[in-house]
Symmetry: C2
Subunit: 436 residues, 2 copies
C-alpha cells in the first residue's frame, strides 16, 4: 500500500483518487443542515418542504393498496426508465405547465438531483463550461464541478437571467476557446434568487441557446407552487429538441420517496436510460407505485393548493418581518417556491456573520454557497418553507439583532474594519445580481 | 444547433456528448429482461430474487408503523450518509460474515449498484485499469466503462480468482505502464461464475493487493444465501484499510427498496458521502426506515433461512436437470447465490444460439455479457433464483433441445461451419475460466 509522504495526510489512498475527486468538498448548505437541526435554532437555511401538511393516512392507504394488490411487483427490480404508469402521471403533471410529450420521453430518477447528475455525466468533459444564473443552485454546481466542468454565471435581475448578458458571455467564452455545453436554468421561483424568468425572456433565451447550439437544462421543481399568479409556461412547452427538462415529486409531494424525472429529446433520452441503469439498475418500484396510486386515488391537485396557501402565508410572514425589522436591507419578492434572496447593506459579510447568527439561534444560507467562485458575501438566502409564520417572524427578529450588531461594529471600526467585510469581491466572475 | 453531418445520425446533439458517453451501450442482460418478461418464456436469464417468498403483510405492517409514528420524518430529506438506525442494523448484518466496523464507516446508497458507481467515480480516471474476475458482473463492468476505465480479467477456477494469475497480471500491466486502481471481486457465489473464493486465497489476494497498493472492492450481495455450508469470512473481516465492502438488501430482503451500502476506510468514506450527496442528496428516508422497522420487528434471520432453503431447492433442480438433459456440458456447482455457469461443448456459440433458445421459450444470459472484450461465447449463465423447480426443469429440457439442434448442425456442416461458432475466441484477454 502506498503511504502518502505528506505528513498531515492520513489517507493511505491519497494519490489514488481520480482527478475529479479533488473538486469534491462539503457544501455550505450541508454543514448548515447539521446546525439547523438543533431545535432551539430557527432555521431559515434548508429548503425542506413542510411535509407535515400532507395527508399521511392517505399516503399510507396507497402503500397498503400497492402492497396488497401488487406487493411482489413493488418489491422487485423494475424498468430502468421507470414504470409506464408513473410516466403517464408525470405527463399529466407537466401538462399543467404547458408541456406536451410522450410517455417514452420520460426517465424516472432518484430525485431530480440524479437526473442532473446523469445529464452532467452524459455531456460534461473536464474544462467544459456550464452557463448558469448568478447566483445558482448549490447542488447543481456541485455536480458540474464533480465532472470537472466550469460554471460561468450570467447576470440576472428581477425578471431572471438577462438575455443580453447571456449573449455577451457566450461570445466572450467562445472567443476564449471554451466549449459551452449546457445552459442551466431554474426559470420558476429561483433557488436561491426567488425570481421568475419572464415569458418574453424565455423565448429570447431559447433563441440564443438554439443559435449557439447549447443544450438548455430547465430545472423546475417549484413551478406548481405559485402564490399570486401561475408561472409562465415552461420553456419546454415551446422548444422540444433543445431542452432537457427536470421535474420532481420532492416539493409537490414528498422528498422522502426520492422520485424525480427528466424529459429529454429522443436520442438523449435513450442515453439517459442507459446511464441511469448503469448507475442504479432501476429506481424504486415500490416508491413509484405508491406515488402512482396516490395520484390515482387522492386529490393531489387540491394538496398542491394546500401547499400553495401554506407557503404563501409563510412568504408573507417573512416579507412583513423583513419590512418591520430590516427595512434598510433589500430583497426579492418571490411569487412562489421557497426562497427570498437578501442583499445586505454595504460592508456586511453573510459568511462571516453566520456564526454570530447561529449564536443568536437563527440560521440562513450565506450567498457564497450559490456562486461557483466564492463570491456572494453581500447576500444571503432565506427559506420560508419549513418554519411556521410565528417562527419565521422570530427568526427575522433575531437576524435583525445580528445585522444591527454587525452594522454597529462596521461603523465603529470603519474604514479600518475587517478585510472580509467588503460588499464587492474582486474575484466575482460576473457582477452580483441586481435584484431589487 | 449543430446538426451532425453523418447522414444516419439523427441526434442533433451528436458531437456534444462527453467522451465517456461513447462507451455507453445497452447491456445484453438488459435486452434479455424484455424478452424474458413474456409469460410463456422460462427465464433463466435475469437475477431477480423470488420476492413472493417474503412476508408481505409483515413488511406492510412496518410501513404502517413508520408512517403512523414518524411519517413526517420518513417523507422528508435525510442524511446523505443514511439513517444512524439503519447503519446500526447494517453492522449487525455484516457481523454475520465476520465484519466489525463502526456506524460512521457505513454509507447507505440507492442499491449497492450506486455504491459501485460512486467508488468508480472517486477513483477512476480515463485509461485506469480495474482488475476483475474472468468472467465478472456485467453491471460493474458497465460502470467502470462509463468512467472510461479498462477491465483486465484475471483467470479463476472452482476456488475463485487464481492468486498467481493476479500477481502475473499486475506485473505485466505495470510493465506496460498501466495505472491499476481497483481489484473488483465477488468472493461469494460469484455472478456469473457461481464459485466461491477459498479462505486461503482470500488471504493471498489481500496480501497481493496490499503489496501492490491496489484498493479491493469486495462486492457481497449473496454472502448470506449459502446452501450447504456458510461462506468463508468476508475479506473485510481481516483487512480494513485496503477494502471498500459493498452490501445490499436486494437479495436478503427486496430490490424494490433500492437500498444497499458501502463500508469504507475513514478517508474514503468521507469522500463517498460527499459524492453520494452530490448525486442524490440523500437516500430514501422512507425506505430506510421501513427496512429498519422490519429488521427490528420481524424474524429477518428466519426469512433469510427461508430464502436459503428455497434457492437451494432450485439449485438442486437445475443441477439435476442439467445432469439429466445436458450431461455432455460442464457447469459450476454453486454453494449459494443465484447462478450456474455453463461451459458449452466445442463449437457452440451462446450468443448466436440465444434467438433459437427464445424461440424454444427458454432464456439465458450469453457468456459474452460477462467479459469486457466480448469473449465468452463458449459459456452461458443460468439463474435459478426466480422460476420454481418444475419450471427450471422444463427450461433446461428446452435448452437441451436447442443445444442438441446446434450440435447436429455443427456435425452436419463441420468443418465448414459458421465462423462465429468457435470455442476459443482469439480476442480473449485472459483464458476463459477453467471451471469444472
Amino acid at each position: 500500500m502506498t503511504i502518502s509522504r505528506e505528513g498531515t495526510n492520513l489517507d493511505p489512498w491519497y494519490g489514488h483518487y481520480a482527478d475529479r475527486t479533488s473538486g469534491l468538498s462539503a457544501s455550505e448548505v450541508r454543514a448548515l443542515f447539521a446546525v439547523a437541526s438543533r431545535p432551539e435554532v430557527v432555521s431559515l437555511a434548508g429548503g425542506m418542504p413542510y411535509v407535515s401538511a400532507l395527508p399521511l393516512p392517505t399516503i399510507t392507504e396507497s402503500m397498503d393498496r400497492v402492497m396488497r394488490d401488487r406487493g411482489a411487483t413493488a418489491l422487485q427490480y423494475g424498468s430502468g426508465q421507470g414504470t409506464p404508469e408513473l410516466r403517464e402521471h408525470i405527463l399529466e403533471i407537466m401538462a399543467l405547465e404547458g408541456i406536451r410529450a410522450g410517455v417514452d420521453d420520460v426517465v424516472v430518477t432518484t430525485g431530480s438531483q440524479q437526473a442532473l447528475d446523469l445529464v452532467a455525466k452524459l455531456f460534461l468533459d473536464p474544462g467544459d463550461v456550464v452557463l448558469a444564473e448568478s447566483p445558482s443552485y448549490v447542488g447543481a454546481m456541485g455536480i458540474f464541478r464533480s465532472y470537472q466542468a466550469e460554471v460561468a454565471h450570467i447576470a440576472m435581475d428581477a425578471d431572471g437571467m438577462i438575455p443580453a448578458a447571456l449573449t455577451e458571455r457566450i461570445a466572450s467564452l467562445r472567443a476564449a476557446g471554451k466549449r459551452l455545453k449546457l445552459l442551466y436554468l431554474i426559470p420558476n421561483f429561483h433557488n436561491p434568487a426567488g425570481v421568475t424568468l419572464s415569458s418574453a425572456r424565455r423565448l429570447e433565451i431559447i433563441d440564443i441557446a438554439r443559435s449557439a447550439g447549447i443544450l438548455i437544462l430547465e430545472d423546475n421543481p417549484y413551478g406548481l407552487l405559485w402564490f399570486d399568479r401561475p408561472a409562465p409556461a415552461a420553456m419546454r412547452s415551446v422548444e422540444t429538441d433543445g431542452i432537457v427538462y427536470l421535474g420532481s415529486f420532492s416539493k409537490t409531494l414528498a422528498p422522502g420517496f426520492r422520485v424525480g424525472w427528466a424529459l429529454a429529446p429522443h436520442a438523449i433520452r435513450e442515453k439517459l436510460v442507459l446511464a441511469a441503469e448503469a448507475a442504479i439498475l432501476s429506481p424504486s418500484s415500490l416508491n413509484q407505485m405508491v406515488i402512482s396510486d396516490y395520484l390515482d386515488q387522492a386529490d393531489w391537485r387540491g394538496q398542491i393548493d394546500v401547499f400553495r396557501g401554506l407557503y404563501r402565508e409563510r412568504r408573507d410572514a417573512m416579507i412583513e418581518a423583513l419590512e418591520q425589522y430590516l427595512p434598510d436591507l433589500s430583497w426579492t419578492m418571490p411569487n412562489g417556491g421557497f426562497y427570498v434572496w437578501v442583499t445586505l447593506t454595504d460592508g456586511l459579510d453573510s459568511k462571516a456573520m453566520l456564526p454570530r447568527a447561529v449564536k443568536e439561534l437563527v440560521a440562513y444560507t450565506p450567498g457564497t454557497a450559490f456562486f461557483a467562485d466564492g463570491s456572494g458575501r453581500g447576500h444571503l438566502r432565506l427559506a420560508f418553507c419549513y418554519p411556521p409564520p410565528a417562527e419565521i417572524r422570530e427568526g427575522i427578529r433575531r437576524l435583525a439583532t445580528v445585522v444591527r450588531g454587525e452594522q454597529e461594529l462596521l461603523e465603529t471600526f470603519s474604514p479600518t474594519g475587517p478585510i472580509t467585510a467588503v460588499a464587492y469581491d474582486p474575484h466575482v466572475a460576473s457582477p452580483p445580481p441586481n435584484l431589487s
